[in-house]
Chain length 129, copies 2
């Protein structure tokens, strides 16, 4: 399976989680990351909240994000009126949701470790309750 | 060009219109119409409005929608908290935006003619002002 397919599968997993949760709806964004406009991977919402999600499943025990990744997500959220979240799944872990502000600077990029993710991240049920 | 490609091109045209308009942002929804969940073609928004759009360019001088098309759009909008709009472009016409309620019943489906579209539809600048 290509990285692109793996990414799409991870996104579909989250879409199912949201769409199977009462009052929530979610969509995958076409060509996210490849279009010239800033856009996240997923947009989820209920009657009162709108959540834009950059979504990453990884085999490592930490995940890096570039400044540009985070800027693009924030820019979209500001224009569109949505909350900015990163969804991260590390090996043998559930999906965790974390805000860009909770990432630690690591040189020119930003990193989230398993420990910080478990401490500051929300699990799906907490995010959507 | 396949119908699918034509549809994607029509959607991209609208995405550019929104993204080039101050304060607006828009995204194409991946796999819309083919996933098992109700979803529109495009979602556009600014800080206060969220607009879900089913988008059709046609060579005919009218356009039909099935009851199911409209139900799916309404259902998504209700859960997600968005306004429901149809974007229609007939030959040698600009894009017009119209609400599902403004379509006329035609047997088991619904239809919009050029005349009604011009009378009740909004042009892009009116929709987004």
């Amino acid at each position: 399976m290509s990285n692109k397919e793996k990414g799409a599968n991870a996104e579909r997993e989250l879409i199912h989680l949201f769409n199977n949760t009462d009052g929530w709806s979610a969509i995958r964004i076409a060509g996210s990351g490849s279009s010239k406009y800033p856009d996240p991977d997923i947009l989820a919402g209920n009657a009162i909240r709108r959540i834009a999600i950059e979504c990453k499943a990884t085999r490592e025990d930490k995940k890096y994000f570039s400044q540009e990744d985070l800027d693009q997500l924030r820019k979209f959220c500001q224009t569109f009126g949505a909350e900015a979240w990163l969804a991260i799944r590390l090996p043998r872990q559930p999906w965790y949701f974390i805000m860009p502000e909770d990432l630690a600077a690591a040189g020119e990029s930003f990193v989230i470790s398993k420990e910080i993710l478990q401490r500051k991240g929300l699990q799906f049920e907490e995010l959507t309750k």
